[in-house]
């Protein structure tokens, strides 16, 4: 390659690297000021009790339902997509009646969106996570992070069983 072409390519790459950092700074500044619109989930979360205030058992005959949250960021890795797909499929297959009756819901939430960032602290998230949250009369009463999903994701039957057992236990009012 001629020397001038090499030098031009180098300059273009260096400018691209510098430009990406400038774009990042601009985007971060824009993101910090955003967040006027609040989604359904954010609205739901805004009136819930502190996640650390957990009671052991739900009140009998209460208006109770379970939300299975899959929390992810903007960056979606292949393993993360598999976890979401397997979790969603398991809920839809094993709890179809509960889904129709509104006793169970599955929600994928992007925690990189400003309105959803509070979930990171609420549920002490350190990675993409599957969190079971119980609501009684629209107040959060219990939650559990199913942390073993990352160990089991490459063993599909074990993964599905782990998700299914966790949701069943939660629906029965047990903490697994």
């Amino acid at each position: 390659m001629p020397q001038t072409a090499k030098r031009s390519l180098g300059v273009v790459l260096l400018l691209f690297a510098a430009g990406s950092l400038v774009a990042l700074a601009v985007k971060d500044r824009g993101g910090a000021g955003g967040g006027a619109a609040r989604g359904v989930m954010a609205a739901r979360q805004s009136d819930r009790s502190n996640p650390s205030d957990q009671s052991d058992k739900p009140a009998p005959n209460a208006n109770r339902h379970l939300v299975v949250y899959y929390f992810h960021g903007n960056f979606r890795c292949p393993t993360c997509n598999t976890i979401e797909r397997l979790s969603r499929e398991t809920i839809e297959k094993e709890f179809s009646q509960d889904l129709r009756a509104g006793r169970v819901m599955f929600q994928a939430v992007n925690t990189d969106e400003p309105d959803n960032r509070h979930f990171v602290q609420d549920y002490l998230l350190f990675a993409q996570s599957l969190v079971l949250v119980e609501y009684v009369d629209d107040k959060q009463t219990r939650w559990e992070n199913r942390k073993r999903i990352w160990e089991l994701v490459h063993d599909e039957p074990a993964f599905r069983k782990y998700v299914r057992d966790g949701v069943r236990a939660f629906l029965k009012g047990e903490q697994s």
Partner: protein, 228 residues
């Protein structure tokens, strides 16, 4: 000290490095560690320093978390988001330097030239360590889940707390070192032939530089600009 948790820490490290999400950084690391194809001893030294860099990063992080100086969600999310965002531009700049696209003039003859050459070689080894340190902290979702969700609890519940991240760090570097060493051994025949043509160093450096630019572009598009 129990053997099972210790083996578990090592296995978690291996599991981290063979999962698909750190694949791009592993490819860059392999090419960098193995760039002196015809000098297996130098490849090994480079690999050891890469391992050391990774291990230092994990030990420091574990120390800060185990002794309660930082919170797991805050650190995990900060590193996953911000380090990956700056890693792309850093790799592109390193690739440009490796490809010598922008001239960096160094004295090439005499005593000063030899001293500079020696320094460049030493810096190559230091860079392997820095690369390990940087790649270790650039957590992706899988490595964050395994490190913060599995290794840190293991470290918290067993003593000596800091032995576990050492084994984890070694585990994360093992596949990179094994592949780099394999490439170095396997390519020695070809390397010798290329060396006769006086091109081996240039070819290895070009491949490494191209991979750095390619991986850097991927990181910029995926993490910095978030367009893929």
């Amino acid at each position: 000290m129990e053997a099972v948790p210790l083996a578990g820490a090592l296995w978690l490290g291996v599991l981290t490095s063979i999962s698909p999400c750190p694949l791009a950084s592993n490819v860059a690391a392999i090419s960098f560690v193995a760039r002196d194809l015809t000098q297996p001893r130098r490849v090994l030294l480079s690999g050891l320093l890469y391992t050391l860099g990774r291990t230092v990063a994990y030990v420091a992080l574990t120390g800060l978390l185990v002794f309660g100086l930082l919170s797991i969600p805050a650190v995990s999310n900060f590193l996953q988001q911000h380090l990956n965002q700056v890693l792309g531009p850093i790799l592109i700049v390193a690739g440009v330097v490796l490809l010598e696209l922008v001239p960096i003039r160094l004295p090439s003859s005499g005593r000063l030239g030899e001293a500079v050459q020696g320094r460049v070689e030493r810096w190559g080894l230091v860079a392997a360590g820095l690369l390990g340190f940087l790649f270790a902290l650039a957590f992706c979702p899988v490595s964050a889940a395994l490190f913060f969700g599995s290794l840190i609890p293991l470290s918290l519940n067993h003593t000596p707390h800091l032995l576990y991240p050492v084994l984890y760090g070694i585990g994360t570097a093992v596949p990179v070192i094994v592949i780099a060493a394999g490439l170095s051994t396997g390519a020695s025949a070809v390397g010798k032939w290329l060396q006769q043509l006086g091109r081996v160093e240039a070819v290895a450096r070009t491949v490494t530089g191209l991979l750095f630019v390619g991986v850097g572009l991927y990181y910029v598009l995926a993490h910095t600009l978030e367009v893929i």
